[in-house]
Amino acid sequence: MENSTSITSEIITNDLLPQKFGKLGMIWTGVLIAFCLVGAFAYYLQLKNCLSVTAMRDYVSWGIYISNFVFFVAISLVGSLITAVFRLANVKWSTPLTRIAEIIAVSAILFASLIIIVDMGRPERLFNLFLYGRLKSPIMWDVIVIGTYLFLSLLLLYFPLLPDLKILMGSRKGSTKKYNKLYHFLGSFWKGGRLQNMLNKRAVNVLCVTIIPVAFCIHTVTSWLFATTYRPGWDSTNFGAYFISGAFLVGAGGVLIAMYIFRKAYNLEKYITEKHFDKMGRIVVLLALLYLYFNVNEYLVPAFKMKKSEDAHLTQLFAGDYAPIFWFAILAGMIIPILILIFKKGRKPLPALIAGILVVVGAWFKRYLIVTPTLLHPFLPMTDVPENYKHYFPSWQEWAIAMGSLAGALLIITFFARVFPIIPIQETINEQHETTAK
């Protein structure tokens, strides 16, 4: 008995230690870096010529930077869902997914704060937020909660990492001097004693309780950036809940994709099993139904009344210029994933991956639809402006920066998986012990 578990621990450790990039990994990283560089160049152009390089103008004063920001904030919510909610609910099967979810959260929230700086007309005046900050502005609330959430997410990534750092330092495989230094710096003090474990466990529990309301705050406050204005399509009391349900959905979809990729890339079939896809698939169905419910509320209720201010906006979404994107976002982002994942066969890894991709892509376009069409329908007519002010299609610089930021977030996740075990080793071993003990 004793013998068998120790072998298992060794195998587990061996399986889960970070690995060097393969050929595919190199190409993947290279492509991401290329995207980031193009984005950085586009931002250099924007710094030189200010926001005139974008297609945003006085009427559409927020474009894909803001929709990308909302997308990042949304996807970052998954960290609190998978880690905190499941941990508090004592859901054991989610253990291999916690770190994936947490690193998605950290990288997304990091790039959310970067992209919002990119959107500023005067980024060099960022410090004005601290010099003259008005507590009455929802932007200030957003700055505070995003900062708080980033800090909490980092802690939630760090505490469970401590036992793994000891394992990392002890092993030779895959670790180089450079990484060892980092491991030492982060966790040389971890001995794994009873008291240390107890303190760690307590800290994680406190964190899980704290991060859930903060996660709700970040996305609710982000929705208030829109809902606190009078504009049709934004002026809604439903917005907080609508955003949060959408955020959980896109986050869960993102986890489905990440699960599939890490499973393939690191041969983790033993750890991320079909059972996990089955369970995550069910969760995605539940969340998609929830989001669909809020969507029906969000569009059907105003459409039933068709107030004058809402009319042009809704008509354009349902049957006008934005109808293709709108119906794509509804179908691909919610209905098709539900139809795939509702069947047992649909919850196999490959169809689940497809459903995950549909959810995430649909969600990105959904954020675009939330931001832009509304701005094209002001209360007073668009008068005395050049013709190009009355339309919006992002310029190549905007696309490059938006895509570059998405690539940057993926790059952080990729590098993290290179340096740290993407599935918690110690926790997996512990759980293995428990199951064998039974």
Binding site: L135, I144, L162, F189, Q196
Partner: protein
């Protein structure tokens, strides 16, 4: 066919007409409009007479000021001894000359004067002249309050020899002074003096806000009167409603207030959340150090 010809004719004649009009208007534009010089006589509410000269140019049906033009103003005749003053027009194309005390004897000698203005040639602008003939006159303003009816009595007086005599038929505007444009005291735009040189106008601006003590400034004036120029008289009276300037909205804590004027409820909620959450974060960081200490 004939119809077509007719249409063609109309089209051609229209084109000719339009180009013709365009050519004319173009020609008008290309002519440099001449600078105009203007002189006006004023008597202030302190009874001091002065002159305003103005240089301007007409462009696109609008008068634009011309600045930096030197203008000399003479009394009665163009000679060194009768020079009232010399000014250079300002950005508004205006210059002001007060009649100097040294002209007292000339001033007392007559009751009718000619003021002559001459500008010095500058660049393309030729020397210009303008003159105005005026008779000495003044307005007197009295406030009346009979049986609760407030009214204003204006008397227009003209100097005749050594005496001030009332004159009839002088058009006078009577207003309450306001910051940007004076408010007429009643419905009429202006009043004309009767045979006794008087106007009695009813004050119809009840409870008009004045200053904090309820003071209003009444004023009466003639505007470019052919004989007397611009006469002005002002008088303070207590017919206004005391001003109650309400800055409550500015001073109170509102959502649209400045940095330091955040509503208490918002401060309370925001700070209790921030302190609560960051308190926990500090606790967690302390845990890291505790773990670290245990391992050291």
């Amino acid at each position: 066919m004939k119809q077509l010809q007719n249409k063609l004719r109309i089209v051609i004649s229209t084109i000719i007409l339009i180009t013709g009009i365009k050519a004319i208007s173009f020609a008008q534009d290309s002519i440099v409009a001449p600078v105009l010089l203007d002189i006006k006589y004023f008597v202030s509410d302190r009874q001091a007479p002065y002159l305003i000269v103005k240089t301007k140019i007409k462009k696109e049906r609008k008068f634009l000021p011309v600045k930096d033009i030197t203008v000399v103003v003479f009394l009665n005749e163009k000679s060194n001894t009768s020079t009232l003053g010399k000014i250079i027009t300002n950005e508004k194309g205006e210059g002001k000359i007060i009649i100097p005390v040294s002209f007292k004897s000339t001033w007392d000698s007559s009751s009718e004067f000619t003021f002559k203005a001459t500008s010095e040639p500058v660049g393309k602008t030729e020397a210009l002249t303008a003159e105005v003939v005026i008779k000495k006159a003044k307005l007197v303003l009295d406030t009346l309050n009979e049986d609760g009816v407030r009214s204003i009595r204006i008397t227009s007086l003209e100097k005749n020899g050594s005496e001030w005599k009332p004159v009839k038929g002088v058009e006078v505007k009577i207003m309450v002074k306001r910051l940007l444009g004076d408010l007429p005291i009643g419905d009429e735009e202006s009043y004309t003096t009767d045979s006794s040189g008087q106007i009695i106008a009813q004050f119809k601006r009840d409870s008009l806000p004045g200053d904090i003590n309820g003071n209003l400034v009444l004023l009466a004036k003639t505007e470019d009167n052919d004989l007397y120029g611009n006469l002005l008289i002002e008088k303070n009276c207590k017919w206004g409603k005391p001003l109650q300037d309400n800055n409550d909205a500015f001073n109170s804590r509102t959502l649209w207030g400045a940095h330091f004027k955040t509503p208490f409820w918002l401060l309370g909620i925001a700070y209790s959340i921030i302190i609560g959450v960051w308190g926990i974060i500090i606790f967690l960081v302390v845990q890291i150090f505790k773990i670290k200490k245990l391992g050291a």
